[in-house]
C-alpha cells in the first residue's frame, strides 16, 4: 500500500512537464511527417473502412470527386467542376484529365461506375453501402433484389428496373461449363486466375456487347474476372420470378433468363470517360458532402479483382491519392510515400508520412512527449493528462461533430413531464469542471461550435448574437447555418414542477428507482453517471441505481430497451443535421433504442426530404429536432471536444469540426522558431 501511494505521488510529481510546449520539440525533418493515430486501423478498403483510425490512412491513399478543405467542406479534386440540376437530383461531375492510378492507368468515370456498384453489391458486404442509398435504386441493389429486365415480357419492357423477392433464387448465378480463365478485360487480356469446370460464379456486370461477363468466384479469398458468357450455364434460366416495378407500380412474372442484377440499374452513368452523372432518390442537397466520404472514393478494378480481400496490402495495392502505401505492420505503423502519379504531386510537400497505430492513449501521449511523433490525432490524449496540457502552445481543444446524451426509455419513463424533469435537474455547466476535457454543455441533439466562439460573419449567417446560449453548426460555409433548438435546460424549479406533474400523471406507475446504464471501458461514463445520480437525488429526490455493462452487451441491452436511462453518443461524418443526426429518431430507424415514435417528426423529415431549398430543409429539420426535444426521448449533455497535439513546425494540418484532414497541403517549417507562431 505504501509502495502504491509512493508510486502515485511520484507519478503526479513527475508527470507535469514544464515549458511552452508539451515535451521536447524535436528537430523537424522537412520531408517527413510522423502522425500518431489513435487506434489500430482495421480496413483500408474504402468499401469496408469505418473507424476514424481507418479513415485517417485511407483518405491519404484514395482520392475522391472532392476532398476536404480546411473546414472539412468539399472542394474539387478528381472532379474539376460540377453542375447540379435545379431539382437537386442530377449531379454532373467533370473529371480532371490528368488523374492517374499509381500503376499509371488514367482514372475515368468507368472507375466510378465500377466502384460505386461495388460498394452497393451484396457480395462486397460493405458496411458503408447505406451511404449510397441516396443513389437511384441503391437500396434494392444493396438488398440484392433489384433486377434489370433484359427482354420485353410479363408486362415490362427491356431496360426497366424491377425487384424480385428477397429470398428468390439468384438470377445472376452461373456455372462454368468447363475449366475457365478469368481475364482482365472483355475479349481477353491478362489472366487473373482459373476456375475449374462446374464452378459456381456470380455475374456482377456485362460488357456493352453482352458477350462477356465480369464474374465472382467465391473459393478461398475470392476472385473476380471476365469470362465469355457463352461458356456459362444458367441454372435458373427457366425459373419464373414474380417481379414488381421499381419505377412504376406494376406486377408481373418473368423468366430467370431475362433478369439480371447489373450496375446499369443504378443512377450512375458514364457518358464519356471524363463525365460522371449521378442521379439520386429525391433532392439531395448534401450529395457533395457525401462525395467526400469513403464510399464514393473509386478503387482500381485490376487490384480488387485479383485479391478481393487483400488488395490493400503493400505489393497488391493501387492507389489514387497524394500518398502511396509502402509498408504496413499491424499494431505498429503505416509508411506512406508521395505518389508520383498523383495529379497534384507537384504541390504535395511531404515526401514521407509515417502513421503510427497506437491504441493506448497514454502510450500515445508519452511518445509525443518524447518527440516520437509530430502530431497526435484527436482523441489520443487520456482525460487525466488534459489538465497538464492546458496552456501549451501545441495543444488545441475544439468542438467535435458529436453529441453525448442519455437515452430515456419512453416505455419505462412514459411521462414527458418526468423526462423533462430529469433534464431540467441537470446543471450541465459543471460537466467541463468534472470531466476536465473542455466539454461544451448542450441541451440540443445536433452538435456545433459554441455560439460565443463564432466569427462575426458566422454570427450574421446564423442570425444570432454572441450572447445567445447554445451551439451552431455551419452547414455550408457562407451559405447555411443551423442553430439547433434547445431542450429543457437547468432549472431546479421547473424540474420539481414537472416532477409533480409526472407523479400526478403516473400515479402508482411512477418509477420507484431509475436505473442508469452505461458501458465500461471509459472512466468518463462512470463519472458522468455518478454525477447524474447525485443530481437527480439532490434536485428531485429520486433514487437512482447505476449499472455498468461490457460494450456489446450494452449495445444489445439498449436495443432491446432494457434500461430506464442509458448513455449514448452520436458522431456525424459531415455537418448536416438532417442527414447525420435526426434519422436515428424516426419511428422505423434500426437504431431506435428509446421506443420513441412521433408521426410529427417523421412527417417533418419526409417533408424536408422532398424540399429542394437547403435553407427550407434545414428549417423543417429544426422543427423536427424541436419535436424531439419537446418529447425528450433523449437528454442531451454535451458536445464532444477533440484534443489535438500538433508540433509548432507542422503547417496546414487543420483542426475542424468533423476532424477530417488531407495531408496534401501539409508541410513542415524547419524555420519555425524564426517564423514565430
Amino acid at each position: 500500500l505504501i509502495v502504491r501511494a509512493l508510486a502515485a505521488v511520484l507519478l503526479v510529481g513527475c508527470s507535469v512537464p514544464e515549458g511552452e510546449y508539451f515535451g521536447r520539440v524535436p528537430e523537424p525533418d522537412p520531408t517527413h511527417l510522423r502522425w500518431c493515430n489513435v487506434a489500430e486501423p482495421e480496413y483500408l478498403d474504402p468499401a469496408l473502412a469505418v473507424s476514424t483510425a481507418d479513415l485517417r490512412v485511407l483518405y491519404e491513399l484514395f482520392d475522391g470527386l472532392t476532398t476536404f478543405d480546411e473546414n472539412a467542406s468539399p472542394k474539387p479534386s478528381l472532379a474539376e467542376r460540377w453542375e447540379i440540376s435545379d431539382d437537386l437530383r442530377r449531379f454532373t461531375f467533370h473529371l480532371r484529365r490528368d488523374a492517374r492510378w499509381s500503376n499509371g492507368r488514367p482514372i475515368t468515370s468507368a472507375d466510378f461506375v465500377y466502384s460505386l456498384a461495388r460498394v452497393l453489391h451484396p457480395l462486397t458486404a460493405s458496411a458503408n453501402a447505406e451511404t449510397l442509398w441516396r443513389i437511384r435504386h441503391g437500396k434494392p441493389y444493396s438488398a440484392g433484389t433489384a433486377r434489370l429486365v433484359l427482354a420485353d415480357g410479363g408486362g415490362f419492357r427491356a431496360g426497366e428496373a424491377v425487384a424480385v423477392e428477397p429470398e428468390a433464387p439468384p438470377t445472376n448465378l452461373r456455372r462454368a461449363r468447363g475449366a475457365l480463365e478469368l481475364v482482365s478485360s472483355p475479349g481477353g487480356g491478362e489472366v487473373w486466375g482459373r476456375v475449374p469446370g462446374g464452378s459456381e460464379l456470380t455475374i456482377v456486370e456485362l460488357d456493352p456487347t453482352r458477350a462477356w461477363a465480369y464474374v465472382f468466384f467465391a473459393e478461398d479469398d475470392g476472385l473476380y474476372g471476365w469470362a465469355p458468357l457463352a461458356a456459362l450455364d444458367a441454372p435458373h434460366a427457366d425459373r419464373v420470378y414474380a417481379v414488381t416495378g421499381l419505377d412504376r407500380p406494376a406486377k408481373g412474372e418473368l423468366r430467370g433468363r431475362d433478369l439480371l442484377m447489373l450496375p446499369e440499374l443504378l443512377g450512375v452513368r458514364a457518358p464519356d470517360p471524363h463525365t460522371l452523372v449521378l442521379e439520386t432518390e429525391g433532392p439531395t442537397p448534401f450529395l457533395l458532402d457525401l462525395s467526400l466520404g469513403r464510399a464514393f472514393r473509386p478503387v482500381p478494378r485490376e487490384a480488387v479483382s485479383r485479391h478481393p480481400k487483400r488488395w490493400v496490402r503493400p505489393g497488391n495495392i493501387v492507389t489514387s491519392g497524394p500518398f502511396h502505401l509502402t509498408f504496413w505492420r499491424e499494431r505498429d505503423r503505416f509508411e506512406l510515400a508521395r505518389s508520383p502519379t498523383f495529379w497534384g504531386a507537384r504541390s504535395v510537400r511531404l515526401e514521407r508520412v509515417t502513421i503510427y497505430s497506437m491504441s493506448e492513449q497514454s502510450a500515445n501521449v508519452n511518445v509525443y512527449f518524447q518527440g516520437g511523433c509530430d502530431a497526435l490525432a484527436s482523441n489520443g490524449v487520456p482525460p487525466s493528462m488534459l489538465p497538464a496540457l492546458a496552456g501549451k502552445k501545441d495543444y488545441t481543444a475544439a468542438a467535435y461533430l458529436g453529441s453525448y446524451f442519455y437515452l430515456l426509455n419512453v416505455e419505462r419513463l412514459p411521462s414527458v413531464h418526468l423526462r423533462r424533469a430529469l433534464s431540467h435537474a441537470l446543471d450541465r455547466t459543471s460537466l467541463p469542471r468534472l470531466l476536465k476535457g473542455g466539454q461544451i454543455p448542450s441541451v440540443s441533439l445536433t452538435p456545433g461550435k459554441p455560439i460565443a466562439t463564432l466569427t462575426d460573419g458566422e454570427l450574421a449567417l446564423c442570425g444570432v448574437t454572441r450572447d445567445t446560449p447554445g451551439v451552431a453548426m455551419i452547414v455550408e460555409t457562407g451559405k447555411h447555418c443551423y442553430v439547433p433548438p434547445r431542450g429543457a435546460a437547468f432549472d431546479p424549479e421547473a424540474a420539481r414542477r414537472e416532477l409533480e406533474l409526472a407523479r400526478a400523471e403516473l400515479g402508482a406507475r411512477f418509477p420507484r428507482v431509475v436505473t442508469v446504464r452505461f458501458n465500461t471501458g471509459f472512466e468518463q461514463h462512470k463519472t458522468i453517471a455518478e454525477w447524474v445520480q447525485n443530481e437527480w437525488k439532490r434536485v428531485l429526490g429520486l433514487d437512482v441505481e447505476l449499472e455498468s455493462m461490457e460494450w456489446k452487451t450494452y449495445l444489445k441491452a439498449t436495443l432491446a430497451r432494457e434500461y430506464d436511462a442509458a448513455r449514448y453518443g452520436v458522431v456525424g461524418n459531415f455537418a448536416d443535421p438532417e442527414a447525420e443526426f435526426l434519422p436515428q429518431f424516426k419511428c422505423a430507424s434500426p437504431d431506435n433504442r428509446t421506443g420513441f415514435c412521433s408521426a410529427e417528426l417523421d412527417r417533418l423529415m419526409a417533408e424536408a426530404a422532398d424540399e429542394r431549398d437547403r435553407g427550407a430543409r434545414l428549417a423543417l429539420t429544426r422543427r423536427a429536432e424541436a419535436v424531439l426535444l419537446e418529447e425528450m426521448p433523449i437528454l442531451p449533455l454535451f458536445v464532444y471536444t477533440q484534443h489535438v497535439l500538433t508540433r509548432p513546425y507542422v503547417r496546414g494540418l487543420h483542426v475542424n469540426l468533423a476532424d477530417h484532414q488531407s495531408l496534401r497541403e501539409t508541410w513542415i517549417d524547419p524555420d519555425w522558431r524564426r517564423a514565430g507562431r
Binding site: 509502495v3 508510486a7 453501402a129 497506437m358 491504441s359 508519452n366 456489446k552 434500426p590
Partner: protein, 305 residues
Amino acid sequence: VIRMIAARLLGALLVAVCVATLGFFALKAAPGGPFDGERRVQPEVQRNIERAYHLDWPLWKQYAHYMAGLARGDLGHSMKGTSTVNEIIAQNFPRSLQLGLLALAFAVVAGVGLGVLAASRHNRAADHVAMSIALLGISVPSFVLGPLLITVFALRLGWLPAARWEGFASMILPAVTLGLIYMGTIARLTRSGMLETVRQDYVRTARAKGLSERRVIWKHALRLGILPVVTYLGPATAYLITGSIVIESIFQVPGLGFYFITSVTNRDYPVLCGIMVFYCLFLVLLNLLVDVAYGLLDPRIREGR
C-alpha cells in the same frame, strides 16, 4: 520417454479441441456480434455482412466449418481486418516471445544474482537489501510499475523510449517491468535453495578440499541450489510469454496479447479460439522441455531413469 512425449502431445490435441470448442461457444453465447456498433447498419446491409462471414448459418454448421478448418491447421480468418489468424499469430507471437524471453533472462540473471548474494551474506545488510528489492518486485503490480518506470526513465531522464517496439532500447523497460515479479520470486527461491545446500555434506567436502569460497558457491552449491528455480522456470516462462497482455498495452508492444483482448470485445471467435489453441499447444511443448531440462540438470534424476 518417446511414449511419454507422444501421450503428452495427444493429450494436448484433445485439450486444444476442447479449448477451441469452449472459446467458440462462449463467444457465441455472449450478447452481440462482431459487427454491432454504436450506429446500427440497415437490416439489408447487416444481412450482406452476415452472409459474407457465414454468420447466417445455423450454429452447428458454423462450428463444424470452423473445426474442419482447424483440423487442416487453418485457424480461419479474423472477422476484422484483412489477416488470417495464422498470419496474426505468425506476425505477433514472435514479439510476445521476444518480450517474454527477455523478461525471463532479466528475471533469472537478476534473481539468481540477488539470491546468491543474499544467501552468501546471510542475515547481513546485503541480504536484507536484496530481499527487499525482491519483495518490491513481487508486490508492486505491473500497471503501477510500468507507468512509474516510464515516468522516470523515459519521460524524466529520457534514457529509454516510452513505448513502441523498435530496437533493443525500446525492449528494456517492458522486459524489466514484466520480469520484476519473477525476479523477486526467483531471488527468494535461490536464496532458500542455497541456504539449504550450503549446509549439505558435499559442499562441506568441497570447502574442506580447500576450494575458494567463490568456487564453492558458484560451482558446487549453485548447481543444486537453483533446482527449485528450474522447477519454477516452466510455469514462469509460460506466464511471461503468454501473460504479457498488460505490459503490451502499457508499452504498446505489438504482441499477441492485444488480439486476445480485442477478439473477446469484438466477438471474433476465430482469433480467440486460434490464440487459445496455439497457446495450449505451446504450453504443452514448454512443459515437455522443462521436464527434459530438469533431468539434465539433476544427476540424481538422470541416473534414476
